[in-house]
């Protein structure tokens, strides 16, 4: 047993962390996160050059990583910096393009953006609820909602129903109706509407590829949350030491001490379940552990976000203060790829399996 990162991953982590600490500080992040294009294109290219995206893909497909642990390392660092770059759609696209045996050089070099269009207004989380439909000659109709990175995408990878199964299609962004917008927690997305829109069939019967992309995305989001919770916790602890009321640091009040300890406990638990989910990715139990992780993150991220604000008092309610932005992202992660209850249902459904 060894919980240390391999040398390669440690290096990956150090490289990305150092890069973000120098080039992607919170003030910069906040200056780009809330106005179009809702990310920083030049930083995106730099990260591609650093090889960060290739770390998300295995060697056979032109990368040098691709395991759950690689994904965890990258997204934890991104979460730490509160990155609003469209790395999640990129990761999910690599999984799908791999499965479809498509070339992804442009994606990994950062020259083409792909967005993954699965969720719909009435099918926010569950693949089996999808109603977007494909005709026999591969024309799509339907609406995809909250497509992360959809505001800047060149291509959409779209899950649509064909008869009694789900296929995966690729659509040129210019062929669809795209309504771009910014997100309350920073970053961009789009509503994407298809009306007999021509598409290319990538994967026939794509259920298991889609599940894999969702599981990988879920591990990524959980890792991102762990990175964000670490920062939020640290800022909170520092503030408890430094802020004085009634002539003493507020950190000397036992009620706040105990609640900070509860935060720490939940963060450690979240880190553990995320490590487990990352290690199961690609295996037969991937979905079960991804759901366990996402359920726990849904609970812990809310606790950490709300307690961090409360224990700061008014200051963390302000746009100026970094915690407010971490808190927004921590809360809104529960609205992506399945919320606490959705994943709890999935774990409940598997109580009898081992």
């Amino acid at each position: 047993m060894d919980f240390n990162l391999t040398e390669d991953r440690q290096m990956l982590s150090n490289t990305l962390t150092r890069y973000l600490a120098e080039r992607y500080q919170i003030e910069h992040r906040n200056s780009i996160a809330y106005k179009a294009p809702f990310h920083d294109p030049s930083k995106w290219k730099e990260m591609a050059k650093l090889g960060i995206f290739s770390a998300l893909v295995n060697e056979a497909d032109g990368g040098f990583g691709g395991a759950g642990a690689d994904i965890a390392v990258v997204f934890e660092a991104l979460g730490h910096a509160l990155s609003c770059e469209p790395a999640l759609p990129l990761l999910m696209a690599t999984r799908l393009l791999n499965a479809a045996r498509q070339n992804q050089a442009a994606l990994l070099e950062g020259t083409a953006h792909y967005a993954v269009a699965i969720a719909e207004p009435d099918a926010p989380y569950d693949l089996s609820d999808i109603t977007a439909i494909a005709s026999d000659d591969h024309c799509l109709s339907g609406r995809k909602t909250s497509v992360y990175g959809g505001n800047i995408a060149d291509y959409f990878l779209v899950a649509a129903r064909a008869g009694d199964h789900l296929n995966l299609y690729q659509v040129h962004a210019t062929d669809a109706e795209v309504v771009p917008y910014g997100l309350i927690d920073g970053g961009g997305a789009a509503e994407v509407l298809f009306d007999n829109t021509k598409a290319k069939l990538l994967i026939e019967n794509a259920q298991s590829s889609l599940k894999d992309a969702l599981d990988a995305g879920t591990v990524a989001l959980c890792s991102e949350a762990v990175g964000m919770m670490d920062v939020t916790y640290q800022i909170t602890i520092d503030y408890l030491k430094q802020r004085k009321q009634f002539g003493r640091p507020i950190g000397s009040f036992q009620v706040l001490q105990h609640r900070a300890v509860d935060m720490l406990t939940e963060i450690e638990q979240s880190r553990s379940i995320t490590i487990k989910a990352a290690s199961e990715l690609g295996g037969p139990n991937a979905s079960r552990y991804a759901s366990m992780a996402k359920n726990m993150i849904g609970r812990s991220a809310r606790l950490v976000a709300e307690e961090a604000i409360q224990m700061h008092g008014g200051i963390a309610m302000t746009w100026e203060y970094a915690v407010s932005h971490y808190a927004k992202r921590l809360i809104m992660i529960d609205h992506q790829l399945g919320d606490t209850d959705f994943h709890l249902h999935r774990v409940m459904g598997m109580l009898n399996s081992t």
């Binding site: 009435d122 309504v179 997100l183 409360q310």
Partner: protein, 395 residues
């Protein structure tokens, strides 16, 4: 024991309902429903409609032009008011400074200031908190020094809600450094037009502008603007905190939020199922409903006791703690229910008129974030617990 309203109370309830149906403008209701920010004009418009009816200053005694309602009547009013999606009355003049002047103001202050609060000519804001003095309000440092017929004020206030619309501010200032911190504080009225005052906006977590910082540099304020005696401001501040506690539980607003969440959950679909038929979501909602039903009665019991004893007791801190938690829980559900549809930054859709979720839900995530303030201001929930520990537990 009888949980029903008396016939007079029921008649009063119908009167309130009728008034709201006839007088509450639709364009205001739609903004309140959506949870969007009201403009100053809308607040002023509603202020004058209530004023005309004589119901603006619901908390004022009859002799100062209030309706002379009992606590139960105030409660009925609040309940109906929220049900109708009427906007909150801006509290700083009407519900804060008004009662202070009734008790501590000179005749002249009462005669000149109170009518201008009612007419809406003056918009007051509250200058208590400072960067270094939040929960520990008594440590405030903004200084007022006597110089002839004036005080010269230097320092900084912060978190000044709706200060951007105000022309006046009531402040707690330090007039003495002798003795206990509480003994050197005075309550003073300041014209925001006075030279040396600068107001700067603070942007809140969800992006809105509702609070401000106010800087004072050698601001000259006539001595006549002092309320009560010099160095007795703390008594006034405490009076204000304990005086008006009707509505502190926010029961009306929570009832409104509960109804909203039910509507959303019955509209939102997860596949072919309505969200409200999902047992996990339904369980969350049912639990808050139980808490709220209990809180309605807790609130009424405390109102009743206040009516019997003449003043509310320290146990009203229970209303603040639990009331805000219930409301925050409901705002959590209202956001959660929308799933991915809650994610857009409201107002970022440009020309598109594509619908996101059920009507009036575009601000649900923003409202959830903004409402985290409820357990922080007006004495944080931690401070309320400290009060209960001291006054009720005798530990």
């Amino acid at each position: 024991m009888d949980l029903n309203y008396s016939t007079t109370e029921l008649a009063f309830q119908s009167e309130v309902q009728e008034f709201l149906a006839d007088n509450l403008p639709n364009h205001i209701v739609s903004v309140v429903r959506a949870g969007d920010g009201l403009t100053k004009d809308m607040m002023d418009e509603w202020h004058s409609i209530l004023k005309k009816k004589g119901w603006l200053a619901a908390t004022w005694p009859k002799k100062f032009g209030g309706p002379g309602w009992t606590p139960v009547q105030k409660h009925i009013f609040e309940e109906e008011y929220c049900q109708a999606y009427a906007p909150r009355v801006v509290p700083f003049g009407v519900n804060m400074l008004g009662p202070v002047l009734h008790k501590f103001g000179t005749k002249e202050q009462q005669d000149t200031i109170l009518p201008r609060i009612l007419s809406g000519e003056d918009w007051w804001c509250q200058g208590y908190s400072e960067p270094g003095a939040g929960s520990d309000l008594a440590s405030l440092k903004t200084q007022a020094e006597r110089s002839g017929e004036y005080y010269i004020i230097n320092g900084q206030k912060t978190w000044t809600t709706l200060g951007q619309y105000a022309n006046k501010i009531f402040c707690l200032v330090r007039t003495s450094k002798e003795g206990k911190l509480q003994q050197g504080i005075s309550f003073i009225l300041v014209d925001l037009d006075t030279p040396g005052i600068e107001m700067r906006p603070i942007r809140l977590i969800e992006g809105g502008h509702e609070v401000n910082e106010v800087f004072f540099t050698d601001v000259r304020v006539p001595i006549a603007n002092l309320v009560g005696e010099e160095n007795k401001g703390w008594t006034i501040a405490k009076y204000l905190l304990s005086h008006e506690r009707t509505g502190i539980a926010g029961v009306g607003f929570s009832m409104q939020a509960l109804a909203e969440v039910k509507t959303i959950a019955a509209t939102i679909k997860r596949g072919s199922k309505r969200l409200i038929d999902d047992p996990l979501f339904a369980a969350r909602l049912a639990e808050v409903e139980i808490d709220l039903e209990a809180m309605k009665i807790t609130n009424l019991r405390m109102l009743f006791r206040a009516q019997e004893q003449g003043s509310p007791g320290p146990e009203t801190s229970i209303l603040k703690i639990k009331g805000t938690v219930i409301n925050q829980e409901l705002r959590d559900l209202a956001r959660r229910a929308l799933g991915p549809l809650a994610a857009p930054f409201p107002g970022h859709f440009g020309e598109s008129n594509i619908l996101f979720g059920p009507p009036d839900t575009a601000f649900n995530a923003a409202r959830y974030f903004n409402n985290r303030k409820a357990s922080i201001f007006g004495g944080s929930n931690e401070i309320q617990r400290n009060i209960l520990t001291k006054t009720m537990l005798e530990l």
